[in-house]
């Protein structure tokens, strides 16, 4: 029953995220031929600095289909949308519902707060996993339509990287949701943390190899063919620690 409640609480956010990510994955594949026609023009763009470097790198990567998918999908749309929906799925819960939105009713049920939180976290993480896997699988499915092939293992690897890194933002949003009684502060603070991390990774190049967004985009896997196990384990540990802190925080809340 708690699963059903958690699903009701998060389904609209999940379904919107799923649709957007699938549209984005589908569009990346479908527009591949059009983008390829524009590539000669892009390579002649004369831009300096980080933007110029980014464009030139994109053009270079897009010389093969796998590189194109990584540059356009995994490194951009999937990463950005994945972060946003991970945060959205993580916000909410008992504390934010405490002003007349069912919190007292839920707390009067014979279920411990730990169990309520665990089910909420498990539901959110399952939805996040679906957000990572389903749109990623769409790419190998649609690729033959544009005369290309994309390996199923590549799709899975990028889904795992997205899920693992996005789970940290999900867990942070859940933790903050046990500290604030409104929906907005956990949402905005977690978004703020994500923006700061993204800027930091972009500006300080020494940090980038260890960055959460590099992990999320699966860059290590794309370039070396190996999963970034240390990064995956580290993010799983960080997520677990934040969820544990969330359970402790919820346990000491007064309603």
């Amino acid at each position: 029953m708690l699963w059903y409640k958690s699903w009701l609480d998060t389904r609209s956010r999940f379904l919107i995220g799923l649709v957007l990510l699938m549209l984005s994955a589908g569009a990346t594949v479908v527009y591949y031929p059009e983008v390829m026609k524009l590539m000669p023009m892009a390579s002649s763009i004369d831009a300096d600095g980080a933007l110029g470097r980014r464009i030139r790198e994109g053009v270079e990567l897009s010389r093969d289909y796998r590189g194109y998918i990584w540059a356009q999908w995994a490194r951009q749309a999937m990463k950005n949308l994945g972060t946003v929906f991970a945060i959205l799925l993580g916000t909410g819960g008992l504390v934010s519902q405490s002003s007349g939105a069912g919190a007292l009713f839920m707390l009067s049920m014979p279920a411990s707060r730990n169990r309520v939180l665990s089910v909420r976290a498990a539901t959110g993480l399952a939805e996040l996993l679906a957000l990572a896997i389903v749109p990623a699988l769409l790419i190998p499915v649609l690729s033959p339509g544009v005369g290309q092939r994309y390996a199923l293992t590549d799709a899975f690897a990028h889904a795992v990287c997205l899920f693992s890194a996005a789970a940290m933002f999900f867990s942070l949003a859940m933790l903050l949701s046990t500290l604030f009684t409104d929906l907005w502060r956990p949402l905005l603070i977690t978004c703020g943390v994500a923006v700061v991390l993204a800027l930091y990774e972009g500006l300080v190049r020494q940090v980038a190899p260890y960055g959460v967004f590099r992990l999320m985009s699966g860059e290590t896997y794309f370039r070396t063919g190996h999963l970034p196990w240390m990064g995956l384990l580290g993010s799983a540990a960080a997520s677990a620690a934040m969820l544990y802190a969330a359970s402790k925080s919820l346990a000491r809340q007064d309603f």
């Binding site: 049920m109 411990s112 007064d254």
Partner: protein
């Protein structure tokens, strides 16, 4: 031997920053009673109920329900499994339909009473397909009662059950409560600031004021013990302080000295005989008077 008290608190305290909501609350609710927890707004009623259900932790003191400590997380689950609760705001899951919330709640309770669910669905004429958020205040209260009644609970804990209801619906709710308790063996603990409804359905009462229980006991017993002694003098009533330990409050106005006692009239009559009053009359008092006089005396 079964615990004679379903609910018991000892020196229960709760502080929210600078505000002390409970200041050493001692409460005992006998098994099988309908106990009205009477107090003004902000007296500490809701805080007490929340502590008993494990929603809020006490700052100090002890609270137990069914003999189980209410502040222990695992016992609290057991307490909630055996308790039907209706919150003051009739807090329910807004996005569910009536049918969904009934099925949802039933899933938590192994002793869910489908017969009672059916009975109260019909009695309250609840629209199964309507969303909870679209229900009127009266309908919400009836739905909340249905969900509490059908749990197969041994204890009903109701926080201001008729709050915000018109008199007709409030009467329906009280009647439903009384008839339910008459047919099922259970204890009812309900908080209220409506003296009339406590008087109407309770057999025990605990009056709480500023975080402490100031009067408690069986309603009939209280009515027997509490009385007003009115002494009329030939001249102005004397300004005296009575030594009798049961005096709650003394009020002097012109020739009349009015004394509220919680231990019968005899000691007061004995003590005031020497003052030579023109007349002495013992007047029985209502729960409303007990409440008002006690609260004023506390001030």
């Amino acid at each position: 031997m079964a615990d004679p008290f379903i609910i018991e608190t000892t020196d229960l305290r709760k502080r929210y920053d600078r505000f002390e909501a409970l200041r050493g609350l001692n409460l005992q609710v006998p098994a099988g009673s309908i106990c009205g927890f009477l107090g003004r707004n902000g007296a500490g009623k809701t805080t007490t109920v929340k502590i008993l259900l494990g929603m809020t932790r006490p700052t100090s003191g002890r609270a137990s329900v069914f003999g189980l400590p209410a502040d222990a997380a695992d016992h609290s689950v057991d307490i909630r499994c055996r308790t039907g609760f209706v919150s003051e705001d009739k807090d329910l899951l807004e996005t569910m339909t009536v049918s969904e919330i009934v099925r949802f709640t039933a899933g938590f309770y192994p002793r869910w009473r489908a017969d009672l669910e059916q009975r109260y669905l019909e009695k309250f004429e609840l629209p199964l397909d309507r969303k909870v958020k679209a229900l009127s205040r009266g309908m919400r209260t009836k739905l909340a009662l249905l969900l509490a009644f059908s749990r197969g609970a041994e204890l009903l804990m109701l926080d201001e059950p008729t709050s915000g209801l018109d008199p007709v619906v409030a009467e329906d709710v009280l009647q439903a409560l009384v008839s339910h308790v008459a047919s099922e063996q259970m204890t009812v603990f309900f908080s209220s600031h409506q003296i009339a409804e406590v008087d109407q359905i309770a057999d025990h009462v605990a009056i709480v004021d500023r975080g402490r229980v100031v009067v408690a006991g069986g309603l009939e017993d209280l009515r027997e013990r509490y009385c007003r002694v009115q002494l009329v003098f030939h001249g102005d009533a004397p300004a005296i302080t009575l030594r009798a330990p049961d005096v709650v409050r003394t009020h002097r106005e012109g020739r009349v000295l009015s004394v509220l006692s919680r231990g019968g009239p005899q000691r007061i009559l004995d003590e005031t005989r020497a003052l030579n009053p023109a007349s002495a009359e013992v007047v029985p008092i209502t729960l409303k008077e007990i409440f008002l006089e006690t609260v004023k005396a506390e001030e």
